[in-house]
């Protein structure tokens, strides 16, 4: 190493020194410690005792663990595709030449920056079975068929769809990204397609889609990772809508017991930090696997389309 190399290294390390500390203290150490705890019987109040694979063995036949995983996948399976469709749909509408475009964009985007606690309160009220806005609209329509809107968050069959609907309200973020992607599609491509006599569907299929597919794929993956970690809305709303004191248990009937909720209540209610760490590591693996899979899928798709 030459003197100037060493000097460069020193400068580089100096500039990144904050990050070296941050990376170690707030990421690297926790990742390793979490792995260690996952092999321990550990409550933060007592010292950890090594118990080998016991936590993982228990997880394998912990019905609630599987239930929380199923609930989470159900939620993600609904909210990610629907959210992508809604965001893409809105973006395509906004990509048309109409007046007041930036005003609409503003409206659609605004909900996505509302604090989650506040939007949880708002939707809690909207989904109120009796006096809520949702049933206030649905009941007159359903009433024609002799039906009645569900109790939403208090009904195990409808609590997850309710959360999905709420998530659609916050898709403005993705919409803005897709809109930017759409606007990057070169105008000439459309014009060329039009001259070739392509229908609007063909233009969408062969011009628009291939161009924005990587953006859509990337954001869908991000949304998937976000959905896997769904916490605040479900935590606040399930407890409030079902009024059951301290048990953050995904009421009603554990239909909103999502992965992060179960993890949180295991760690900070039952103070079984070791077990929670094992759960966290499995989430880590599942997230990584999903990301890898989705990335591969999207790469294949866009490659084929291009």
């Amino acid at each position: 190493m030459t003197r100037s190399d060493r000097k460069q290294l020193r400068a580089g390390l100096a500039f990144t020194s904050l990050w070296i500390v941050g990376l170690f203290a707030f990421t690297a150490y926790p990742v390793v410690a979490s792995l260690y705890y996952s092999f321990c019987d550990y409550s933060i109040l007592k010292s950890p005792v090594w118990c080998g694979l016991e936590n993982y063995r228990q997880l394998a036949h912990d019905g609630l663990f599987w239930k929380s995983l199923r609930n989470t996948l159900f939620y993600a399976g609904l909210s990610v595709p629907l959210g992508t469709l809604v965001a893409l749909g809105l973006a395509m509408l906004l990509n048309c030449e109409i007046r007041g475009r930036s005003f609409f964009r503003l409206l659609f985007f605004m909900p996505s920056i509302v604090p989650v606690v506040a939007s949880a309160m708002l939707w809690l009220w909207i989904f109120n079975g009796e006096y809520g806005l949702m049933n206030g609209f649905l009941n007159p329509i359903l009433g024609l068929f002799g039906l009645h809107g569900p109790a939403w968050l208090a009904d195990p069959a409808w609590s997850k769809p309710a959360l999905v609907i709420m998530s659609l309200w916050g898709t403005g973020n993705a919409m803005v990204i897709y809109l930017a992607g759409l606007q990057n599609v070169p105008r000439e491509l459309y014009e060329a397609a039009e001259i070739d006599g392509a229908s609007s569907w063909q233009r969408f299929r062969h011009v628009t889609l291939p161009t924005i597919a990587p953006v859509v794929a990337f954001n869908a993956i991000m949304a998937l990772i976000g959905a896997m970690q769904l916490f605040a809305q479900a935590y606040i709303m399930s407890e409030a809508a079902n009024g059951n004191g301290n048990a953050s248990d995904g009421n009603p009937e554990r239909s909103t017991l999502f992965y992060s909720i179960y993890l949180f209540s295991t760690a900070f209610q039952d103070i079984r930090m070791g077990y929670a760490s094992a759960m966290a590591y499995i989430l880590f693996l599942v997230t990584a696997a999903l990301t890898w899979f989705a990335a591969r899928l999207s790469r294949g798709r866009s490659g084929e389309a291009l």
Partner: protein, 378 residues
Amino acid sequence: MARPHTASHRIVVALLVACSAAFVLPFVWLVSTSLKPIEQTISLPLTFIPRAYMAAIGGRQVEVTLDYAVSGPGAVVRFNSGPDAGRTGFVTSGQLSRGVDAAVVHPVQAGSWHVTEKDGATLGGRPAWDIIPREQVSSRIRFRWDNYPKALAALGGDAEADRHRVGFWTFLRNSVVVAVLGVLGTVFSNAVIAYGFARLRWRGRDAFFALTLATMMVPFPVLMVPLYGVFKGLGMIGTLLPLWLPTWFGSAFNIFLMRQFFRTIPEELSEAARIDGCSEWRIFWRIIVPLSTPVLVVAALFHFIFAWNDFLGPLLYLTRKDTYTLALALESYQSQNGGVQWHYLMAASAVTILPVILLFLLAQKTFIRGIATTGSKG
């Protein structure tokens, strides 16, 4: 592509209007509820416009609540005997014809409304009530702006708020402290770190950067338990520190964001400065930072929104009420003993939302551009 005044253009506009109605309605509902008196939040059918109902009870024109419509005819009577002797009550025509020991005050037609004096109940004892035809109830629009100060007082726990000076202003201050210190930390630390990755060439840089990117994959729950231990060891549980201190040590996403931006600044600028004998710090501070305002503003805005909206962090680390942020205080208010009233909850929620909406309206261009660029890095 739809062109103006074609059929498809009209469809697009119609769709946009319909969709924006769906997106805006929750906000309208929020504000509407926050301005209603409690009984109108739980009355059917739903209304959007808060009203005040007035009627004459016992000869006085007072504000009333509409309780329910009487399904059949009957009379308001004064009982002469029995456990209710001396009190007034409603009996149906059927009961009346079977014989009730009571004096009829006035007859009641089917469909009349039971009304109660609105402020009567709070005075203790039985509020004044009557059953009168709907036409005799007048109404006008009235927004209950006083819900807002009441809701903010309730947020801190009323009486207790005075005693310990813990209330809305404390929560607001905490939220502002966490957001502002976090924004400063985010902008400063990540800019410095990103400079090290973007504009300096040193051994191991690229490997280190790859590692940095890899940490973005780690879900927060993996870090949650040990981080709690870290902050416990530092004696920071129960303080605001865990919520903003880490921002001063960089975050992978922002490092990535700023590095991308810094790399677009021509290298010649730095080279010229180096030849003039400028230190790297001076180059960073005098050349790179001034040219990078857009990306710094984006990072600052995003962090502000994140910090303001954060729920899990405060839920984990804050213990004492005088350290609560607005978001946590709102959740805590909602889950308080004995339940909560919707009009106050909506008012408190509206107040929590307001700062981010204002910030967004002020800086919407930057926001939209920021999201569009950061999100498109596929």
